[in-house]
Symmetry: C2
């Protein structure tokens, strides 16, 4: 069994209104040194051994369901599940 | 300037209905080998140099605003921003 960590982030060119709102709140709380906040998703997926290649599975599920590739990028790491 | 990557995950004991829904969708799409999905947040925060210690800032903003420590855990990494 493998554990895959998937990091989904907005593309650089895409505005992040949620991140901007959080940054504004942090400024209001006195954290003036925070100059940028961007918010993405972090997914932990357990995948059992099968005939299919793990990289193929991860790329397919990211492209088809987990991310919107028009506005989001993703990267992932595969680990042995304990 | 530092770039801080913050990973927010639901605690092990907390059910993740959003993750379960995604897992169900993946099964319906034919990815039977996916045995668990858990969804968290991934934040990238740029912090300018100040008199305050970077670890203190990150822990404070996580505890006060970014996470719900009753149901969520977090970990973070500090990098030099390029």
């Amino acid at each position: 069994m493998k554990k895959v960590k998937i990091y989904v982030t907005l593309r650089e060119s895409i505005l992040d209104p949620q991140g901007s709102a959080v940054q504004g709140s942090l400024h209001n709380m006195g954290y003036e040194e925070i100059s940028d906040v961007r918010i993405g998703k972090f997914l932990e997926v357990q995948i059992e051994e099968s005939a299919r290649d793990i990289d193929t599975i991860v790329k397919e599920i990211c492209d088809k369901l987990l991310t919107n590739t028009v506005i989001e990028d993703y990267r992932y790491e595969v680990e042995e599940a304990n």
